[in-house]
Symmetry: C2
Subunit: 675 residues, 2 copies
């Protein structure tokens, strides 16, 4: 008869099912249907419920590998409470990874625990020592040569004839336990039934500052249509504010049929330039550039010049066509037709958008269509563009995005996709699950403490953070929120600080933003008056009242403080004033701790008592604890004591503090040192 | 070129992927790995997130069928808010069912919505009418003969030459919409990617009152070992209290080796009967009966007699062996052996249980072992037993239970399995997911308002309710809770009412329960003094101070009030006294509304103001509303007004009210009528 401890080594034709249960693995999006997202160098913390029948000890690992690699790497899982185990690993390169969990009954640990209890109770453990000897001999077979001899000798001691006390001492030797841990019997291990996936992207997918501008408004003198060359001249201005992504609305030829005039009028003058989103003309479509902006070579020059300024160009991908787009002529089957033979234009009944033909993704020629649209991305990737802001993705099929992002990203994992999906929550989330690196969010409409706290808790403290990265635009050409219309310069500062510190990625649409432009098309509208969407504008970027230096300061603070490079470390703190909001971010090692205090009221001085979790932040406990808070905006430094301290913010001076917390290091004579 | 509306009918070699997304389907246990549970006649409410790109209208159904049936039944899903859809169906027979969700773009509904808006705005809809004509003609092809002609005629009208106003009226005719709904174009429907499963059991799996007793203590005169015949004589007593399941601890031959004496002593006298859980002797094992109880024929008689009393016998299945069990001799490979050749007895180091050999489910002969254990269940099923209380399932492999329950239940879906798993929460839940109909719970240790409220909210208001049914034992031979030790008769009444009304299924271990036996083995222990586990006891069931009639009243109330037959309808209500708890259950149609008020303090009179959600209960709103509360225990009736009313309970009289709420029907002369 085989004893239990030797069976692992014995060949059994059909082994009994594993006794180990693995469930509740996190993160896992929709039962493993979608990947989680990380960037290179980030940690993946994995947890799972792991247990077996009875009281045997278990051991567990998380396994991970680049997709397609033959071998798994492993990191240990350790038990928390209530059968929950946790562990972590780091992803070190771009591309798809897989991870799963494996666990097994740890016969040696079980034996070690039991013999300890029995010998402590003074029981005879002769039989147990024999069992241990068998276990150790089994490990010797699996062990590296360097350990095998040692283990064999130890097995002989346990099973030998020495005094029982000496053999028990050898059994309980921590060195034995340590070496045995390296050579577990995993013949009856259980592997979780799904390989889960990770999209590992580059850092810019997680952390970046975006600046949106219309090249056609970049001319240095009024009255002229701006060009790529003009945009080149604007690069030092944008880079000087500390941005690292320069996002351009569509740069393609603009249709003439049903062209829109200023302020979205239906009666354009012949010289009106039209909306860049009415894509396509005789000069070409999604892979051509608008002649008035320059040539493809000019565009290539812009991309290269931007790179020298530390800026990446992001392009706007809007899969829709003006009636003049070449696709309409060459591939009429890609559009919907009415029974009378005409092509259906865009509608939101009773509104009509006759300057735009939506693409019909369900047409019989859908495979050629989607290949063509994929090639649009690949065309621009070839020209050095790898960031794409996708217009209205929620009006195209989800499974098209699932497919096209996989097609492009698996070839070019440095490609980044931003979904402009101002739509229903579940639609927005599904686009993120399908592969979008980033998503526009509802931030623009969250202006109160309650709504900001609730929304950003959802975005950063639920599983959402594992697949959806918000890109917090403070304004866009479509959205001039009422708060900016009425709140003046302090409102722009408030929204800038919120966007730049609540989110690891944020953006502004300039120059209107830094010039605090707040005039709507008409009362109650979120559209800009004389919107650049329909006309060329001229901006004097050197205006003395611009927020340019403030923006530059905020972006410098972001760059210099790694705590601000992440979303998931956001925590809200208490302040006893509903007009103020306080939150913080810290690095895992607490070497960088940021606390942001914002007065949400652009009109009045507000003050309150802020309560910080000083113990969690590694600052100590009790009211006597002191630490320095260093306002990185104003450079003022304050000495705070204990959990609760007072703040007051005058929006006319500056509506926010971005504090770096500096811990007291030591006192020597008259000096305090803070690190 | 094909227009969008005709494509559904056209054969396309490879259609475009469906545009519809279905996710977040509920109920769904662990991503569909485990079935939900229902009983015959119960409703299955299903919800899901369903959406598509753009603004097209959708239609959706939940599909269901008995496992293996070729055709699906369908029930409509309707939208709630935020892209959530819901619907329900009823399961009408025992066995496994499948369900899933299907949804599609509803071209007709989309068109109907749009033409309505356009015509309301006075737009020319000539082209839209032609589109509609194509849609209606397409439906005619799919339609039943009775509708096809009508639809064809209507298509001709829409596409005809009549005045546009008349054709629009025909388009907006609700009858057309109603008929079109019957013949949707589902050629591009999306089906949810998993078929989810339902275990449909008989009502007793959900609703039952259990009585546990030791047959060996059933003799009418002291000093004699009770028998199955004696148990037969006890049936009218048990049935008279209103129970419908009579659960017997193991009835098999008891081992002699290392037999335990009274109060778990290791020094039994020769006549001591031992523990019934030390199963197996020379007379046989799990398919034999203990000779002192009688013969198998006596047992069959008992089963038949019980049935005549409306009682089902539940047997205790404890898969462990005394050293004298035939398996030890015939299948020594089913047990674990030490290196010295001896079989390992049960241990919890340093404690030893030498009267019990655990079974080794990982032995090389595991397939023969599990087949044998399955046959133990089948043996008793053949003898008319279909309820099994499984002892310590958490010390045997989960995948063994998954398998054996499927093997037995798929052959005999009237079999009911109760897991005695007083263990860690996740282990208990996993056993339930694996197929157990019912589970022991932590109820026994939940005695305060806070802990009862928290625990029963978890059991009834989370997804737990879809797979785990608690069986609330108020006491067991292993658990005499301190509350019963110190609280006297009121404590037993309190725990009985809580068990019987919080849970659709509950149980007591008698006669100790109804005789209010509260003496522990020793202070601080939950074991009974002179426990029946180790010795024969004699009970005078006719004692005048027994709770027998109180138990009978409570069981009658349960039987007569369908609201108490379910767990998921439990709702806690407010009362401003921490020593009191108030909760209710109602049927979906509100025809039966029960409100339970319990004084949790067995020592003092307690009173408080109860607040009921009278609007939700269909009683009306405002302080003037009046309704009758009829205490089904005392038969007292009170007139209550509005939401908040006063209650006072003296534990010496009765520590609980079980109110049936009777709505006012009409006032006629001097009489009030309540239904």
């Amino acid at each position: 008869m085989a004893s239990e401890v030797t069976k692992g080594a014995k060949a059994v034709s059909r082994p009994a099912p594993s006794r180990v249960i693995i469930e509740g693995v996190e993160p896992e999006i929709d039962g493993g249907r979608f990947p989680i997202k990380r960037t290179v160098g980030e940690e993946v913390a994995v947890s799972a419920d792991i247990f077996t029948d009875g009281h045997d000890s278990l051991a567990a690992v998380v396994k991970y590998r680049p997709l397609g690699a033959p071998e798994w790497f492993e990191a240990p899982l350790t038990p928390l409470v209530n059968d929950r185990w946790t562990g972590a690993f780091t992803v070190d390169r771009m591309g798809r990874f897989q991870y799963t969990v494996e666990a097994w009954v740890d016969w040696f640990a079980t034996w070690f625990k039991e013999i300890g209890k029995k010998s402590a109770a003074g029981q005879d453990v002769a039989s147990e020592l024999l069992e241990g000897s068998v276990l150790v001999r089994g490990a010797a077979v699996r062990a590296a040569a360097s350990d095998a001899d040692w283990l064999r000798q130890r097995a002989e001691v346990l099973g030998g004839s020495e005094d029982q006390a000496l053999r028990v001492a050898a059994a309980l030797d921590p060195e034995l336990a340590a070496i045995m841990t390296r050579y577990p019997d995993r013949s009856r291990a259980q592997v979780y039934d799904r390989n889960l996936e990770i999209m590992v992207e580059r850092e810019r997918a997680r952390f970046g500052a975006w600046y949106e501008m219309f090249p056609r408004s970049a001319a240095q003198e009024p009255g002229r249509h701006g060009t790529f060359r003009d945009t080149e001249s604007r690069l030092s201005y944008v880079a000087g504010m500390g941005f690292n992504v320069l996002y351009l609305p569509p740069i393609h030829p603009i249709g003439r049929a049903f062209r829109k005039g200023p302020n979205n009028s239906l009666t354009p003058a012949p010289a009106d330039p039209g909306s860049p989103w009415a894509i396509g003309g005789p000069e070409g479509g999604h892979t051509a550039v608008h002649p008035e902006l320059g040539t493809l070579e000019d565009f290539d020059r812009l991309v290269a010049a931007a790179k020298r300024h530390g800026l990446e160009i992001a392009l706007d991908i809007a899969f829709q066509c003006s009636p003049d787009h070449p696709y309409v002529r060459e591939h009429p089957q890609w559009f919907r037709h009415r029974p009378d033979g005409t092509i259906k234009y865009a509608e939101n009944p009773p509104k009509k958008y006759q300057d735009i033909y939506p693409i019909d993704f369900e047409n019989d020629d859908w495979e050629a269509l989607r290949a063509e649209l994929r090639d649009v991305f690949l065309f621009w990737v070839e020209r050095g563009v790898s960031i794409f802001r996708v217009d209205n993705p929620h009006t195209k099929p989800f499974r098209f995005w699932d497919w096209v992002i996989r097609e492009v990203w698996d070839r070019h994992p440095d490609a980044i996709f931003l979904a402009e999906a101002f739509t229903r929550p579940k639609v927005m989330h599904r686009l993120a699950k399908g592969g979008y690196s980033q998503s526009y969010s509802y931030f623009t409409w969250r202006n109160t403490k309650g709504s900001l706290t609730e929304y950003f808790t959802e975005l950063t403290q639920t599983e959402t953070v594992d697949y959806m990265r918000p890109n917090l635009f403070a304004n866009t050409p479509d959205i001039l929120h009422e708060f900016l219309q009425v709140g003046g310069r302090p409102a722009f500062q408030i929204r800038l600080v919120l966007a730049a510190t609540l989110g690891a990625t944020y953006g502004i649409y300039g120059p209107p933003f830094e010039q605090c432009v707040g005039t709507p098309w008409k009362p109650g509208s979120e559209e800009y008056l004389d919107s650049e969407k329909y006309q060329v504008r001229h901006w004097d970027v050197d205006r003395h009242d611009s927020l340019r230096t403030f923006v530059a300061r905020i972006n410098a603070i972001r760059r210099e403080n790694p705590a601000l490079h992440f979303d998931r470390n956001l925590r809200f703190h208490h302040v006893d004033n509903e007009q103020m909001i306080v939150y913080g971010k810290a690095t895992a090692d607490l070497s960088n701790i940021i606390v942001v205090v914002v007065n949400l009221d652009p009109f009045h001085v507000q003050s309150g008592w802020v309560r910080l979790p000083i113990h969690e932040l590694g600052l100590g406990s009790g009211p006597e604890v002191s630490y320095q808070v260093h306002d990185l905006i104003s450079e003022a430094r304050y000495l705070w004591y204990g959990e609760t301290n007072f703040v007051m913010l005058d929006p006319q001076a500056c509506p926010a503090h971005i504090f770096r917390i500096r811990r007291w290091v030591k006192t020597e004579r008259d000096f305090d040192y803070f690190m």
